[in-house]
Symmetry: none
Subunit: 192 residues, 4 copies
């Protein structure tokens, strides 16, 4: 499909993405000029590879999205409707909390790269299927739409960020918040 990159171009691509990954991990906003400088490349080179900061950010996020999608496959193979949903959502939130590139990409309504759109679709579809299965099995309250999954996961991740703490803390917090929410999702509305 795509012409494979020339060897030097591929090296530059890698460098750029590596630098961007570092910046994202440090919480520094991605500025293409800045990335170029840190990568020891010309600005033009960076722009050739990534037309906008968003494109670069999505690229940084891609591998993580792919890992999530792969996990989604496994979850779909798990016959337990609740356990598979819970596992998938747990992974999703862990990823968002661990990798700063994920939150903005997930929350964005428009993507820059086709690959991003593709992966997000896969993940949405996986979530839908898992949710439908769980709902049919009566494991989940019926008023939860599949369109709610992504927002709720983003919300959890955001809550974790607001609370703050070390990276390790954050994973713990994420589990706590997610389990609380899941309790609510599972709940059959109680009768008075």
């Amino acid at each position: 499909m795509t012409t494979p990159l020339r060897k030097d171009a591929a090296r530059n691509w890698d460098r750029i993405v590596a630098v961007a990954r570092d910046l994202v991990d440090q919480g520094t906003p991605l500025q293409l000029n800045d990335v170029a400088r840190r990568a020891g490349l010309g600005v033009g080179t960076v722009y050739r590879h990534f037309a906008t900061p968003e494109a670069l950010l999505e690229t940084v996020a891609t591998s993580c999205l792919e890992a999530l999608a792969a996990h989604g496959e496994q979850a779909l193979a798990d016959p337990d409707p609740w356990r598979s949903l819970e596992g998938f959502l747990t992974r999703t939130v862990e990823a968002q909390v661990t990798d700063a590139s994920l939150a903005p990409v997930t929350a964005a309504s428009a993507d820059t790269l086709p690959r991003t759109t593709e992966l997000k679709a896969v993940l949405r579809s996986t979530g839908n299927t898992l949710l439908d299965r769980a709902r049919e099995a009566g494991a989940v309250r019926p008023d939860l739409a599949s369109a709610d999954l992504v927002p709720l996961m983003c919300g959890i991740a955001h809550a974790v960020t607001v609370l703050g703490g070390t990276p390790a803390d954050r994973i713990g917090t994420a589990h706590r918040y997610l389990s609380t929410l899941l309790e609510g999702l599972r709940a059959v509305p109680r009768t008075a």
Copy 2:
């Protein structure tokens, strides 16, 4: 305490805040120069009143925070431990979803105006009290710390934003998400 503003200064102050409120409602980031232009005032005037965009944003948020604090008073007066907590959190989330000035101010760890710090402290304290009461009454799962309230409300608000929709939709969504979460908060962890 504070010297009352001169009449013209007060008029300008009002204009500035009104313009800022509009901008916030439109989702436009607050830029003091821009505010000055739209208010038909000199830049210097705006800077005299608000040294930084944050100060202006907090000012815009103040009345809303005050309304929440006032509601908090009422909630504290309500003897029902669960209903009062639920009511307070509902108002909080409604406010965050309705008023774009609130989310950044609430999530910020450092404030610019003393008044903001004060109001945030009041709200935190109200939340704590309500939560403690509910916990003691056995209405809430014991592993929820009072420090979690603000993050969770921010998370809900964020989830609502990610889902999007009209302002009216958003309030509905907020209620739905909050009630789900509250279900989880209330739940006595179920036994298998």
Copy 3:
């Protein structure tokens, strides 16, 4: 001539000049707004008394110029043509090096206050007389014009400033530089 100031106006005048004196001593540039704030007065008040920073600076310098003028009187009374000139110039340079308000006022070609113009004229005239006397007495090389006195004194003061050091150092340096220059002024051009 001038209507005497009302008592409160006089008090304000004094305050302003005192603040300005401090600022000058610290080497802070005179800004009327700044002066007003430090004096606890409105800007308008300061502007009423001193239309420009220059006017204020000249006012600050006035007492020092008056002291120099007074010394000039004494110098004129001294019958020794060389000693009187030397004493007058020494005082002048000491003053410039000691009081930061003096250099700019002395070097300026145009004055703001009539009183400044008056005092500068007196000092120039004193210098002229002393120099003429010394020249006639053969104590000074003939190619030194009286118009050179002010520039040379400013030059010495500037040299002292460039070398830097503590206020005490500066007076010593001033004496050293001045004595060197005077040696040159006195010199009958030597024959080979």
Copy 4:
């Protein structure tokens, strides 16, 4: 050492420096925006080349400092201890009086460009050597430290500026003031 500039960058660099030179000659303070406008270049371009007005000013001064340093070489080669010192100082003062970029750069205690620091060190060292030679030869009064040379030259230049006059006048004045001072420097303190 330094990568040579690209052709267009070099052209812009030259333009900027030329404009700055004109401004300096007119006595206009250097403002980078202003320079950009006059040079027909974007502000960013000027900022890329010269991070601060001081850097630009020092660049403008550089060629003159280099010429002085070159003259210093020749002076060191001259075996006559007095004549070589006199020649060097004469050139220095002429330069300061002729080129308005020099005075501020010379008087500044901190430099922006390494090149400036380098050249100033060379000139100071040349001055020291010439002065030491002259002192050892008994041609100069012993209480003159080498640290005094720069301040005294700045002082002379300042005196010339205060007197004012056309550029041609100023050179004449500079010679006159310098020769007076040198007379004082040379003088063996006279006995009464």
